[in-house]
Subunit: 106 residues, 2 copies
């Protein structure tokens, strides 16, 4: 792990609204090239391309070159890590569960 490729965190990847929107767009289509994704945003191609690179480092998207375009595809599998993380806190976030817990602890 020298110069490039930082092996990006899924939590960091989904923290950015642009990247969440990219995920959403890719969920609605099998594959999309950069130039079809770009017009949905107010920034330039290069910026969108970099957001896609971050998603790719988190393994949330894959891509393949078809002719001169690079088609991006969603890979939702890494979201499982977030789901697992949340699962631990589910026991806390229900108010009824908290009340019940308080009663049991008396």
């Amino acid at each position: 792990m020298n110069t490039t490729s930082q092996k990006h965190d899924v939590f960091v990847a989904i923290a950015d609204p642009t990247r969440r929107k990219l995920i959403r767009l890719l969920a609605g289509a099998e594959e999309l090239p950069l130039h079809e994704l770009t017009p949905h945003f107010q920034m330039g191609r290069t910026a969108v391309s970099k957001h896609l690179a971050i998603l790719k480092e988190a393994d949330l998207v894959t891509n393949r070159k078809i002719g001169r375009e690079t088609k991006y595809r969603l890979n939702p599998a890494p979201l499982q890590e977030v789901k697992d993380w949340l699962a631990f806190y589910e026991q806390f976030w229900n108010e009824r569960a908290i009340l019940l817990k308080n009663i049991l602890e008396e």
Copy 2:
């Protein structure tokens, strides 16, 4: 919304590993003051205090002053937003579901 108080995003709040560890520590106790949380980290009190402020802006923690200490408590409710966001993608991230979808689309 003038000088302070930026109304922080839950996704941003949980993106940082220090803050996830704070959430985990607070899940394991009813209430904890800053000086009990700090020794679990390599940074100073001030830095931990600021991370707690970000969690508070995201409404993931509440606090109350008891004498000279400020006790922090976890409020997991805002995590629901993340759970809801993930729920949308559950239909995609199961390989069996993807295979089935491909078959149905033929």
